[in-house]
């Protein structure tokens, strides 16, 4: 049976891992290569590195970072942040990443998903969605782009369904409302998306307690749970998370 995945997320800025609340107030969480190797050794199922500066200068840095990470990390990892072209994806995959995540560029140019899937296979193509709950309609979420700074008119569930058809192989679904709050994932959002698509959904944003992970999997229908604050600052180890989930009957790779 396929296990549910525990995925620490490393937001990288100026070669450091940082973590904020609701995408703001960043706090230093360590060296990305060191932290990556530690997670790889301690039983994480996968890692996500997001270049949150995503400038032309940081692009070169992130390729070098991926190369260093790949020398020490023998679990899969995804890289994202400012990726716009198939050639950039190619460079990151060659440097050692398993998958890349695209966000703003896919909204602006949905054909990027198809081009990437045809060349690398859809299992390499992660669509990251930053979702914000609509103030008027509580069961609707809008897609935000440019690191969450720009709301669009696009409905999150419709975008997820369209992206699957275009070639996305997985959805990294971040609730901007829940991100960094440690108050739990937005499982109405996770459920709405996981019911609408047949590709895996990674729940992201809001993990604070062990039961939040369970809820995202059971209530939200998530295939994987992503977290940062609760693991970087060593509130819980990966092993504690997995033992907790296994104890409640969730299949994990312990």
């Amino acid at each position: 049976m396929l296990t549910k995945r525990i995925i620490p997320c490393l937001d990288v800025k100026d070669n450091r891992v940082v973590k904020g609340v609701n995408f703001l107030n960043l706090r230093d969480a360590g060296d990305p290569v060191e932290l990556g190797a530690r997670y790889s050794d301690s039983g994480a199922d996968e890692l996500v590195f997001l270049d949150i500066t995503a400038t032309i200068r940081s692009r070169k840095t992130i390729v070098e970072l991926v190369e260093k990470v790949a020398e020490n990390v023998f679990i899969p990892f995804t890289v994202g942040g400012g990726i716009q072209t198939v050639d950039q994806i190619d460079e990151l995959l060659r440097s050692g990443a398993e998958k890349v995540s695209v966000n703003t560029a896919a909204v602006e140019n949905p054909a990027l998903l198809t081009a990437a899937a045809q060349r690398f296979g859809n299992q390499c193509v992660v669509l990251a969605i930053d979702a914000r709950r609509s103030k008027e309609q509580p069961d609707r979420w809008q897609v935000c782009v440019k690191a969450g700074s720009e709301p669009t008119d696009i409905d999150v569930v419709e975008w997820a369904v369209k992206a699957e058809k275009l070639g996305a192989g997985e959805i990294l679904l971040t609730s901007m409302d829940a991100d960094g709050t440690k108050a739990g994932y937005d499982n109405r959002l996770n459920r709405a998306v996981s019911n609408a698509v047949n590709i895996p959904v990674i729940a992201s944003g809001g993990a604070g307690k062990l039961e939040h992970l369970y809820d995202a999997i059971v209530d939200g229908g998530a295939d994987a749970v992503l977290m940062a604050s609760i693991t970087h600052f060593e509130q819980y180890t990966i092993k504690q998370m997995k033992e907790y989930l296994a104890g409640r009957g969730i299949a994990v790779n312990l």
Binding site: T3, E67, F74, P76, R94, E98, D223
Partner: protein
């Protein structure tokens, strides 16, 4: 020296890193002479099947020849799928035909891609898994799988709503649908076993 065939697809470096981490000598190459002189070959691959076959180009015939002459060959993911006769990923494409079978879509009743860690039952008589255990989790990331039709092939399966072939061995030809280079300590052990096979 193990030679990892560098044919312009993603992820070749990860395989090389993993061999080196376990203390095995490995290098990337696409030179015919280096390939012919290798102790063993690894055909990795993160790519769509058609793209991978196109990228392999004329190396395909050489790999086929040296594998049929008995050199150990390990195919990983799409590199494993290319060992079979054909695939229907984004069109129809021919593989190397070293093992009989077709690469077909994972049934849509399951979440596709089959992505993540799944338990593989490891038969005692498959050399890649010597000393690894009876069953272990390995990392998978694929939307197509090989429907093996070769009666001479040994097969290790994983359960994904049906018995999905996770690894195949036919004489000196080995393949894994999962990524040993990304399956943590267990995967590194499998690569070390392949390196041992190459020394024989």
């Amino acid at each position: 020296m193990i030679v990892i065939i560098d044919y312009n697809v993603g992820n070749v470096r990860s395989v090389c890193n993993a061999f080196r981490y376990t203390g095995c000598e490995a290098k990337l190459s696409c030179e015919p002479e280096t390939i012919e002189n290798a102790a063993g070959l690894v055909l990795p691959g993160v790519a769509a099947f058609g793209y991978a076959v196109g990228a392999l180009g004329s190396l395909a015939e050489l790999i086929k020849k040296v594998a049929l002459n008995g050199k150990p060959l390990l195919g990983i993911c799409v590199g494993y799928q290319m060992l079979f006769d054909r695939s229907c990923e984004h069109g129809r494409h021919n593989g190397l035909g070293l093992i009989s079978g077709s690469v077909v879509p994972v049934p849509a009743e399951q979440t596709v891609p089959h992505m993540g860690w799944n338990m593989v039952t490891l038969p005692d008589d498959m050399e890649l898994f010597a000393g690894v255990g009876k069953e272990k989790h390995f990392y998978f990331a694929h939307s197509f799988y090989a429907d093996v039709a070769d009666s001479r092939a040994k097969i290790a399966y994983t359960d994904y709503g049906f018995n999905l072939p996770a690894s195949v061995q036919k004489a000196n030809i080995y393949g894994t649908q999962f990524h040993p280079e990304k399956s943590g300590k267990t995967g590194l052990k499998v690569l070390k076993n392949f390196a041992e096979i190459c020394k024989k």
